[in-house]
């Protein structure tokens, strides 16, 4: 090889130029990355190592009309695990189960939660007791992925008493997450599942905050809460003020006790404000918070009294004689009858129509009654004839215009539509073309193809109690919405109200009068279609009424499943009204004597 110093120098310079050039090129690369793109990489570094831990916002406190607390927040503890992979999560849970009691079901639940939102901490114990938390705190160093958070937990101080309207909250489900309504929700968040909690979710939820924890590449929490970056505090939701009278609600629940099955609704007739809404028996939704225990849920599900079924909102019962007022209104509206009119056939305990004998509830017979008297005595024979006079088409159309086939429109998501034929087509569909005109007899006395909710009957009577307009029932305070419903003159309405007073004063609910207050209302004894042990048909007991009759402050609808005669419901309704109006029911005094 050529080894002359000049050659070596030449190659040496070439080598130096190449080496220096390459190092300058690399240096430029570092300058670009470290100085020019510094901000970009700083951000990436932070997203790398900072994990957002959600800070749930306290839900809005729900108050009754007098400022008493219906739904509150208490401090609860949530135990969660930040995991990057499912196997890591499973391994941590496996080890945790050696320290605290975790069932395989809970492990599977946590894994499912993780799959739904891998970037959020997977909740293992949504509602850990203080004892469990203190055990875990002791072993904290063994579980660097674990995160214990104190978070607000929903609490209903009155438990089952308020359950029928307040509902409960729970972790958002996959089905819910898929809906556009819940677009800004994340898996693991609490959401209203029923009742007010569901209806006013957007108001009650508040705004979730965030905590930042610093994690290493394997997801172990290195610097916990607040250490890495200041917290973003959650924004609590504003309180929710309701029309509920908690004292009355407690009283209603107390009357039903453990033995009665049924429901009651109390409404302020002029505003539609719902004072009380109860369904018996009622579950304790406090036990649903943080996941309902399987055993408790099963006991509710298998209970023949169906506690999970809201009898005031969802229960569809034949309204029985309480519906005779609808027949009355349709009769008066169409001019087919006046309050003083008598029917051609006087009541002798029943009516022969075609080849069938339609009995009156009182087989002794009522004789010839005016409409007013027929309401007071609830004479079936009178209403059979009124129904025939009106004809089925007019009766159905009238019922529809009285909202008998529509929801009352309460601000609770559970309300069911009553079952009522929308027109004659219903019968054509159901029975073919050959149905008998005798259907109108049953329909006129509130039997047949007619199932009403307790709430809807209360709404109808609130229209009867006032100027004929019905207010939309509202749990939460708002601007009352009144819609004209009963199209009668003031004089006619006054006559109807007088007739309803007659029911209590000497009529079917005579024993339920209240001392010092004029109570108006109508009993109902509806055939349930269910037989008792002796083959006798069981009846639902209804009473819908209002007081004071001349200036109604409260409308109450009570229905006792298989409660027998309507007078039993009337006694309860009268007690509820007396409690609300702070007066003494007569029945209480008379039973003493």
């Amino acid at each position: 090889m050529s080894f002359h110093p000049n050659d070596m120098r030449r190659r040496g310079i070439a080598a130096n130029v190449i080496v220096t050039g390459v190092l300058i090129f690399l240096g430029a690369g570092f300058f670009r990355t470290q100085v020019l793109q510094h901000d970009k990489y700083t951000l990436q570094s932070e997203t790398n190592r900072l994990r957002e831990l959600p800070l749930p916002a306290p839900r809005g406190i729900i108050y009754d009309r007098n400022g008493k607390v219906i739904a509150d927040n208490v401090i609860g503890y949530t135990v969660s695990v930040l995991a990057q992979r499912e196997d890591t999560l499973r391994a941590v849970l496996q080890r945790l189960s050696g320290t605290i009691n975790i069932t395989p079901t809970q492990i599977e639940q946590a894994v499912r939660r993780y799959r739904r939102a891998p970037t959020r901490p997977a909740v293992i114990l949504p509602d850990a007791s203080f004892d469990v938390v203190s055990v875990l705190e002791e072993h904290r160093s063994q579980f660097p992925q674990m995160n214990i958070q104190s978070s607000p937990r929903r609490f209903y101080p009155d438990g089952p008493i308020v359950a029928p309207f307040v509902g409960y909250t729970g972790e958002i489900s996959e089905t819910e997450l898929a809906q556009p309504v819940f677009a800004d929700y994340k898996a693991g968040q609490q959401v209203g599942k029923q009742g007010l909690e569901k209806a006013y979710e957007s108001v009650l939820r508040g705004k979730e905050g965030s905590q930042f924890a610093e994690v290493d590449a394997r997801g172990r929490i290195v610097r916990g809460q607040g250490g890495a970056r200041p917290d973003l505090l959650p924004v609590p939701a504003p309180p929710l003020y309701t029309n509920i009278d908690l004292d009355l609600q407690r009283y209603v629940a107390g009357i039903f006790g453990d033995s009665l099955i049924g429901g009651a609704v109390a409404i302020e007739p002029k505003t539609g404000a719902v004072l009380a809404l109860y369904s018996a028996p009622s579950p304790d939704y406090n036990r649903f918070i943080g996941g309902v225990p399987v055993a408790y849920y099963d006991s509710l599900r298998t209970d023949p009294r169906k506690p999970l079924y809201n009898k005031a909102l969802q229960g569809q019962y034949p309204p029985g004689s309480t519906w005779k007022l609808a027949t009355t209104v349709v009769g008066l509206e169409t001019g087919a009858v006046t309050m003083s009119d008598h029917m051609p056939i006087s009541c002798s305990g029943g009516l022969q129509y075609g080849n069938r004998y339609f009995r009156c509830w009182d087989k002794r017979g009522h004789g010839s009654l005016s409409l007013q008297g027929a309401i007071a005595k609830s004479c079936d024979v009178f209403f059979y004839q009124l129904g025939l006079k009106l004809g089925l088409a007019r009766l159905i159309a009238g019922g529809v215009s009285l909202g008998m086939d529509a929801k009352a429109g309460i601000d609770l998501p559970e309300e069911k539509r009553p079952r009522f034929p929308e027109s004659l087509d219903y019968f054509n569909r159901k029975y073919g073309r050959n149905w008998s005109q005798s259907i109108v007899l049953s329909m006129a006395i509130g039997q047949g193809d007619n199932s009403q909710t307790i709430l809807n009957m209360a709404r109808f009577y609130s229209a009867l109690a006032t100027d004929g307009s019905a207010a939309k029932p509202e749990i939460v305070k708002g601007k009352p919405e009144r819609t004209p419903m009963v199209k009668l003159s003031a004089e006619q309405l006054a006559q109807v109200q007088t007739a309803l007073v007659g029911v209590v004063e000497g009529g079917t609910a005579a024993r339920s009068a209240i001392k010092g207050v004029q109570l108006a209302g109508k009993t109902g004894t509806a055939q349930s279609g269910t037989l008792d042990a002796f083959g006798k048909e069981l009846n639902h007991a209804w009473f819908v009424g209002f007081a004071p009759a001349n200036d109604p402050k409260i409308v109450v609808a009570v229905m006792i499943e298989f409660g027998g005669h309507g007078t039993r419901a009337a006694a309860i309704a009268s007690a509820i009204i007396a409690n609300y109006l702070k007066v003494t029911p007569v029945s209480d005094i008379t039973t003493d004597g």
Binding site: M1, S2, F3, P5, D7, M8, R9, R11, G12, A14, A15, N16, V19, T20, V22, L23, L26, G27, G29, F30, F31, T33, Q34, V35, Q37, H38, K40, Y41, T42, Q44, S45, N48, R49, P144, E214, V215, D216, A217, R218, R220, V222
Partner: protein, 417 residues
């Protein structure tokens, strides 16, 4: 001679010492993670290896170039023997767990013979090239150097160790240049490899091929050489896709990830991305020694070996990077000077070969941390944790000190750069 006091090239030694101390301090920092791992204790081992290596370097300075020349072939054959042995008993380790680069006895890993081979092959190639009276003018004349590098290269690629393979190609090429091989011939030698790389794009390869034909016509090699070149280029250009299929999936993945690191953020691209994040977030002055969060929180992979330079970038910033580059540049310039002034062609080639070997390490390793080079698992001289490489690097320093001392100007101006 052996008892005579040596004129030590102190600048070289001081630069190497500074680089080693800088490196060990970074190995220490690399072990400082929020959740302690075994890496936390490795700086002690590295320090021990450092002292051992200084001793070995001293011993190397006591060995004359003549003795080195005489030892070249035995050392070369010993390396070859060990590399052959590895094919059968090699063990994987660390980030290269699937390869067979480690020699172990009874489960105890002794070292990586390929690190030693990096020196012995340089020596052997220097010996072969120094026998040429005139620089090689044709490809045919290069058969001997090609064989000397080719045999160990094939053995290393069988492990497989792409990184070391690249180093071999790098220093062999550099030494050809140093021996006076003309630029056009160097391009012709390199042409098949270039063809291989360009084969992935037919248009670009076509352009390259036309350029090559022009060069062949201008350089006028022997006819059969020209035909041979054309054939190999076509062969490599066409073969490349077939070879691609033969690559292990992880190798394919690494190459793909090199081309586009965002391809698979979580898996293979993850390493490069984390390294870039660490370096980029370091900024001008860094996060402070031992304080880098990317490293502390274990986001940075192989932070004490392959990606150690990312720790420098994160914790000491651009300033720390420049300091390291300056030290490396001083080292390279110093070694070029030693190679220039060497007494004979053999020692000059040895010096330049060692320089080239380090240079390729620095270029590939540092380039990799910034995604300028593919991930090959090649260590950074004086920085990356690893005994064999530390020892080999300091042996090289020892040899260079000896060459400098025996070279022209070695006695007169040891401190002159």
């Amino acid at each position: 001679m052996a008892t005579k006091r040596l004129a030590v090239d102190w600048p070289l030694v001081i630069i190497a010492l500074l680089l080693s101390l800088y490196g060990i301090s970074i190995v220490y920092s690399a072990g400082q993670t929020d959740i302690p791992t075994a890496v936390g204790r490795l700086w002690k081992t590295q320090l021990l290896w450092f002292f051992l290596s200084i001793g070995a370097a001293y011993a190397a300075t006591r060995c004359t170039v003549r003795l080195l020349d005489w030892l070249t072939w035995p050392a070369y054959w010993l390396s070859i023997a060990m590399l052959v042995l590895l094919i059968f008993v090699g063990k994987g380790a660390g980030t290269a767990a699937s390869t067979k680069s480690w020699l172990a006895i009874g489960g105890f890993r002794i070292g990586q013979p390929s690190e030693l081979a990096k020196i012995t092959v340089v020596l052997a190639l220097a010996k072969v090239l120094s026998t040429f009276k005139e620089p090689p003018k044709s490809l045919l004349e290069l058969w001997k150097p090609a064989l000397v590098v080719g045999v160990p290269w094939v053995l290393i690629m069988l492990q497989p160790d792409l990184g070391t393979g690249i180093v071999f190609v790098g220093f062999a090429f550099a030494m050809l240049f140093w021996s006076g091989v003309s630029w056009p011939l160097l391009v012709l030698v390199a042409s098949p490899v270039v063809s291989l790389i360009l084969a992935f794009n037919v248009q670009v390869w076509g352009a390259w091929f036309l350029l090559l034909i022009a060069l062949v016509l201008w350089y006028k090699p022997y006819l059969y050489e020209g035909i041979f070149l054309a054939c190999t280029n076509v062969l490599f250009g066409v073969l490349a896709p077939i070879i691609w299929d033969k690559l292990a999936p992880y190798q394919q993945k690494r190459l793909l990830v090199f081309l586009n690191p965002d391809l698979d953020r979580r898996a293979a691209g993850y390493h490069v991305l984390q390294s870039q994040i660490a370096i980029g977030s370091g900024g001008l002055f860094g996060k402070g020694y031992t304080q880098g969060p990317q490293k502390r929180l274990a986001f940075l992979p192989a932070q004490h070996t392959d990606f150690i330079f990312a720790v420098v970038g994160e914790e000491l910033g651009f300033v720390g990077v420049l300091l390291a580059f300056t030290l490396f540049l001083l080292l390279f310039l110093r070694v070029t000077k030693i190679a220039e002034r060497a007494n004979d062609s053999y020692s000059s080639l040895v010096a330049f070969g060692l320089l080239a070997s380090w240079f390729v390490h620095v270029l590939v390793n540092v380039g990799m941390t910034l995604n300028l080079m593919p991930i090959t698992g090649i260590p950074l001289p004086f920085f990356s944790y690893g005994g064999s490489f530390m020892l080999a690097s300091w042996l090289a320093i020892g040899i260079l000190v000896r060459i400098a001392a025996e070279g022209r100007g070695g006695r007169t101006g040891p401190f002159a750069i």
